[in-house]
């Protein structure tokens, strides 16, 4: 009998329990350590749910900042990536990232699949269970590919992108992840002072490098650079983009807060405050920069600004003061606006600013950790940035190049004009709405 409510069940059950002859089955009263383990585990699970909500955040942000004719395609990619992320992480990712170090800390390995050992579901394993560990880490994994998704939007072939995602999430992300968090070489050098708290490098830069490699090989959208001038290709829905950013910010409380890896009141609450202030300062920084440079404040820049602030403090939210996080976030907010301009001058077309937000501010956040963070070393941070960058960029570049030479990575000109929704999916995102579009 599965009694969902204790309405009548509980008394009954208690009655049975006390009257029971199976006295040996009666659970002993919980200890304080049990309670602590339960609350720690609960928090990491909740944090995993919050990281999950970042996926619709990315989906809406990317959909909002691109054209209506490619919306189905973007949504499709983002839904798929969650599935790809969780499934590949279950099969190989978790093992590659946190398995026993091999090849001098280059990767880990603990066999295919996931299966807890004897004590992995109790406090003997840590502050949470093996399953919780997998879920929290698995939710992170997909994020790197999602970052790429935004940068290559509106022109990438669906199946090539999905293949790229599978490999990048299943192999590249866990390898650098192993260096950074899994006990690999990077975490061993310089007395182990390397610090990337919740993943400015491990997640955001890794995604950003992938995005950079991909847009170099993919080329800009048709109509983006005409006769040497950059044309604006406005996104089709600012409400979607804004909601996306709010969901990302919301999810970031799990991303950063959960990275404390237990529910320690002082630790988690500090991290949530620095995260909040970093985001707020990012908004302020981007707003002022955009207002001054562009004359009128650009909402899409301010949205990027809040994410920039968040990415900036992600590496160091646990070891900075709130005032420092305001500074780091504000600088990230300024930086992201210039980065958008910079990539645009380089003719690198990134519809949603993924490289500016995740790559540039991911690097900034990691370095800022070396500058402001208690006990961190700038040189070690720099080493990490360079090593991870070299690996991720090269890996992504070769992977995309292979796809380019085999399956092709770019849709035909006709399909790009007509939209990927019709081309790749044979359907439209706004049936019945007449969308006025001239490119």
């Amino acid at each position: 009998m599965k009694v969902k409510s204790s309405f009548i069940g509980a008394p009954l059950f208690l009655a049975l329990a006390t009257a029971s002859a199976w006295a040996q089955e009666e659970a002993p009263p919980p200890t304080a350590a049990d309670a602590m383990f339960t609350v720690n585990n609960l928090w990491i699970l909740l944090a995993a749910f919050l990281v999950f909500i970042m996926h619709p955040g990315f989906a809406l942000l990317e959909a909002g900042l691109t054209r209506a004719k490619n919306t189905v395609n973007i949504l499709f990619k983002n839904v798929s990536i969650v599935a790809i992320g969780l499934l590949t992480y279950a099969i190989v990712g978790f093992s590659l990232m946190y398995g026993e170090s091999k090849f001098g800390g280059f990767l880990g390995w603990a066999g295919f699949g996931i299966a807890p050992g004897e004590n992995d579901l109790t406090s003997a394993y840590g502050d949470y269970t093996y399953w919780t560990d997998f879920l929290f880490q698995g939710m992170f994994a997909a994020t790197a590919a999602t970052i790429v998704s935004g940068a290559v939007a509106e022109r990438v072939k669906l199946h090539s992108f999905l293949l790229f995602s599978v490999v990048y999430v299943a192999v590249a992300y866990p390898i650098t992840g192993h260096w950074i968090w899994g006990g690999g070489w990077l975490s061993q050098i310089g007395d182990g002072v390397w610090h990337d708290f919740a993943g400015s490098t491990a997640v955001h830069s890794v995604g950003g490098w992938g995005a950079l490699a991909a847009i170099i090989l993919l080329g800009p959208r048709r109509g983006k650079y005409v006769n040497g001038t950059s044309k604006a290709i406005p996104g089709h829905s600012m409400p979607l983009a804004t909601l996306g950013v709010f969901l990302l910010w919301f999810g970031w409380y799990g991303f950063n807060g959960g990275s404390v890896l237990n529910a320690d009141p002082a630790g988690v609450s500090l991290v949530c405050v620095t995260t909040s202030l970093g985001a707020a300062a990012g908004v302020a920084g981007a707003m002022l920069t955009s207002w001054i440079i562009q004359k009128k404040p650009d909402l899409s820049m301010v949205l990027n600004g809040s994410l920039a602030g968040l990415v900036g403090v992600t590496a160091n939210a646990d070891i900075t003061t709130p005032m420092e996080s305001v500074l780091i976030g504000a600088i990230a907010g300024v930086l992201v606006v210039f980065a958008v301009f910079f990539f645009d001058r380089c003719r690198l077309d990134d519809p949603v600013g993924a490289t500016s937000v995740h790559l540039v501010c991911g690097i900034w956040g990691t370095l800022a950790t070396g500058i402001f963070g208690d006990g961190a070393s700038f040189m070690v941070q720099l080493t990490g940035v360079l090593a991870v960058g070299a690996f991720s960029f090269t890996f992504a570049f070769i992977l995309v190049l292979i796809l380019k030479l085999t399956l092709g990575i770019r849709v035909s000109e006709d399909e790009e004009l007509m939209g990927l929704d019709i081309g790749e999916h044979g359907m439209e995102s706004y049936g019945g709405f007449q969308i006025f579009t001239t490119d």
Binding site: K231, A232, P234, G235, D298, M301, F341, D344, F436
Partner: protein, 113 residues
Amino acid sequence: MKLIVTYIQPHKLNAVKKALFDAQIRKMSVTNALGCGQQMGFHESYRGSDIEVNLLKKIRIEIAVNDEFVKPTVDAIMTGARTGKIGDGKIFVLDLGACYRIRTGETGESAIG
């Protein structure tokens, strides 16, 4: 019979409709349009790229009338739509060869109203 096509400022639609009603012209068809004319448009900017918007939102009204109604119609549109500022719009008058009412199959002048 004439077919009168006019482009006006969007926010003048209600005024024009009222003026037409006052002149007993009760039938018309409206679409939205983008117009390019002396009114030079404005600049938008998006993520650092400038966009010159020179297609401005306009309303297009099509009114089929019998010949004696042409002048009242044109006058009513003028009354309702004029602000004296650039961008007020245009009125075009075309010859209408034939007109049918789908519901009844009526044709000619009686079908118009």
